[in-house]
Amino acid sequence: MFLARICGTVVAPVKHSTLGGCRFLVAQRLEADGSVAAEPIVVVDWLGATNGCTVLVSTDGDIARARLGNNTPARMVVAGIVDAVQTAASRRGENA
């Protein structure tokens, strides 16, 4: 699992048959120092994350398989919307 920031939405009318009705969001993985990864990822969201949200992404397909069936290729799912992250830096008042 890792943290990511939501930065966009995906419109994709052509998709695997199990993915109909899913919400796809573009996210950028967050590093420990607060920077973001160079490559964006597409995540499935059922919780209602919006642009700018920090989310917890699970890379295990089990959440998607339970909802969409054993045949689904979905893997990265928003497992939670983050309220706060506490690190040594944030406790010192940096990088809030």
Binding site: C7, V10, V11, A12, P13, V26, G61, N70, R75
Partner: protein, 95 residues
């Protein structure tokens, strides 16, 4: 899933049985910089994925990697680790 642009198709001569009749595409993953610029460039390291959606060269797709890439063929066992899950029509980026 990551985002990639279809750069070509792969035809196999000899292949393991599980790959018979499968369409393979060469994908170039797209970096955030290129995605936000919308310049049609990728920037990532190319890889090959199974495509059952009929993605054409130049089209943008989102592809699943890892064990889940073989899920669409369940309960058959296919040794795939990348699968095109969606053909992207448009992406709305708000940074």
């Amino acid at each position: 899933m990551r985002i990639g642009i279809v750069r070509g198709h792969v035809t196999l001569n000899l292949a393991v049985d599980a790959f018979r009749g499968k369409t393979l595409v060469v994908l170039e993953p797209v970096t955030m910089e290129n995605l936000a610029a919308g310049n049609g460039l990728g920037g990532g390291k190319a890889l090959v994925a199974i495509d059952e959606l009929g993605a054409a060269e130049g089209q943008m797709v989102a592809f699943t990697e890892g064990r889940e890439a073989a899920n669409p063929f369940w309960p058959k066992s296919v040794p795939a680790d990348a699968y095109c899950s969606l053909i992207v029509d448009s992406i709305d980026i708000q940074s």
